[in-house]
């Protein structure tokens, strides 16, 4: 599903963000990436969504080789990947409903279908009844869940979640993780970055540890090692 082969990313002057990363993620896998800030987790995710281009190395996601990817095809690629951003990235002038619906409008889904689908997904993330709220009227946790609803509403084959529990209290954090597990059970590959030790330990999934732009360990069913 995801293949990285000796991927290096160098930003101007600031040295290397990623150094010769090789990684293979199977379809339907649930992968947790941990590591201190600045270890390169976000850069790695940005490469997967083609927000950034690798300085060298090969990236293949869902059979698409990024090297031969044309600009025009980037939107199509992104529609196949659901992303939950650390800073939510909600559209400030749209309601909760419209934010989630937007992901479906992009792909040209009909209005009726959108009206059916969005409430179902908002129900899954526990935001029933808040459809007409604007993002600024929501708490951090609620915004996070709108972002998740938006990421999963298209039923993507890959879901990337960058610190989705970062701003949440434990109860809500677990709600979010449960949603991710559910999605994963339905067949979506999930890539999750987190700092939350408890979540890592309880999930017992594949854990990739990054440090200073490199992968230092990659173990199945691993526990958090500070």
């Amino acid at each position: 599903m995801i293949l990285l082969d000796r991927v290096t990313k160098t930003y101007n002057k600031n040295g290397q963000a990623l150094e010769r990363i090789s990684l293979h993620v199977e379809p339907k896998e649930f992968v947790i990436i941990i590591g201190p800030s600045g270890a390169g987790k976000s850069t790695l995710l940005k490469l997967l969504t083609r927000e950034e281009k690798p300085t060298s190395g090969k990236i293949i996601v869902g059979g698409i080789d990024y090297e031969t990817l044309k600009d025009k095809e980037i939107p199509l690629l992104r529609r196949k990947i659901g992303v939950v951003f650390q800073d939510f990235k909600l559209l400030p002038n749209k309601t909760v409903f419209e934010n989630v619906a937007f992901a479906l409008e992009i792909v040209g889904m009909g209005n009726k279908e959108i009206e059916n689908t969005v409430p179902r997904v908002l129900d899954i993330v526990g935001l029933k009844g808040k459809e007409k709220r604007m993002p600024k009227e929501l708490s951090g946790g609620e915004r996070q869940r709108v972002a998740i609803a938006r990421a999963i509403v298209r039923q993507p084959r890959i879901l990337i979640a960058d610190e989705p529990t970062g701003n949440l209290d434990p109860k809500h954090a677990w709600d979010v993780i449960r949603v991710l597990e559910k999605i994963n059970k339905f067949g979506t590959t999930v890539i999750l970055t987190t700092h939350n030790q408890e979540i890592v330990n309880k999930l017992k999934r594949r854990v990739i540890t990054m440090e200073a732009g490199s992968i230092v360990s990659d173990r199945a069913g691993a526990e958090y090692r500070g």
């Binding site: 969504t49 992104r78 992901a103 792909v107 209005n111």
Partner: protein
């Protein structure tokens, strides 16, 4: 499937554009204000220019040369003179006015002056026969003058040749100034249009800059370029449409007010009635022009302004 999907997307772009127009009304007002002023001034300049040109044309049309003939001039001499004049390059038309005709014209011109009419009817017709020469180019009247000053021609004339009386010098100045003013006017319109386009562009760019985050987010969610840009272009086109309509309304209001105020009076060199007629005759052209220019400016500036936020990273 694909066609219906495109229709859905197209409808959505229009709908979102309209919605944004309503939601961002305040930001839009700045852009529209500049646009209205620009379009109004451009339209006003076009009409003023046409009116000015028309006035000059009218004045120059009236320029003619009158040659007064001695009573002793024979028909043969007269015909020769007419033919000679006609052979001159700059002569468009030569009209002969006989003594009797001159008297009729004189009487008409002085219809209100009973004393003068009685006086003139008691004498033998004192008015000379004349030739009225209409030049092709009023700026090159010298050629005709030289011909008329020739000794043998001069002897046929009873009075000094009249070059449209005292107006000649003024007319000379006007005609030479005309071409300069017209060129300056056109250049002015162009310069002004460019400056205001930059201002409008800047205003729209500011409006889009305020919403650059939205553009980036939409991009990250996989929205196509047209889907993101479309609503902005629709919104700017509405600005253009509204501004175009407003500018027409303003000009129309100006005319209806001025027509009432200056009715039947002439504002020196500018003939308001002509401007009004000119505006009415070209009404639909102007409406099309204003809307077209408005739409064009709106569409182009939003197209350019959104570009930078829609680019994909190309650096490695």
């Amino acid at each position: 499937m694909n066609i219906s999907r495109n229709t859905i997307v197209f409808k959505r772009i229009i709908k979102t554009g309209l919605l944004n127009f309503v939601r961002n009304a305040w930001l839009g007002i700045a852009a529209m204000a500049v646009m209205v002023i620009t379009l109004t001034i451009i339209l006003f300049s076009i009409i003023a220019n046409a009116t000015f040109a028309n006035t000059v044309q009218q004045i120059t049309d009236r320029i003619d040369v009158s040659v007064y003939l001695n009573d002793s001039v024979t028909v043969k001499q007269r015909e020769d003179l007419i033919n000679n004049l006609k052979s001159l390059e700059n002569v468009e038309e030569v009209t002969f006015i006989s003594k009797d005709q001159a008297l009729v014209i004189y009487k008409q011109q002085n219809a209100g002056n009973a004393d003068l009419l009685t006086a003139i009817s008691q004498t033998d017709n004192p008015l000379p026969a004349s030739l009225q020469i209409k030049p092709r180019d009023p700026n090159r009247i010298e050629e005709i003058r030289t011909f008329l000053e020739r000794g043998d021609i001069k002897s046929l004339q009873s009075d000094e040749t009249s070059y449209s009386g005292d107006r000649k010098q003024a007319i000379d100045k006007i005609t030479s100034a005309t071409s300069f003013f017209r060129r300056a006017g056109i250049a002015g319109i162009i310069v002004f249009a460019i400056i205001s386009m930059l201002i409008i562009f800047n205003t729209i760019q500011m409006a889009i800059f305020n919403r650059r985050d939205e553009l980036t987010i939409m991009r990250l969610l996989g929205a196509s370029t047209n889907f993101i840009r479309g609503p902005f272009i629709v919104e700017s086109i509405i600005y253009g449409l509204v501004s175009g309509v407003l500018s027409i309304v303003i000009i129309q209001a100006l005319f209806s007010i001025s027509a009432r105020t200056f009715e039947a009076s002439s504002l020196g060199i500018l003939d308001i009635n002509y401007s009004n007629t000119y505006f009415k005759d070209h009404y639909f052209t102007f409406v099309a022009l204003q809307l077209g220019v408005g739409i064009l400016i709106g569409a182009v500036s939003s197209l350019i302004a959104t570009r930078r936020y829609l680019k994909f990273k190309t650096s490695k």
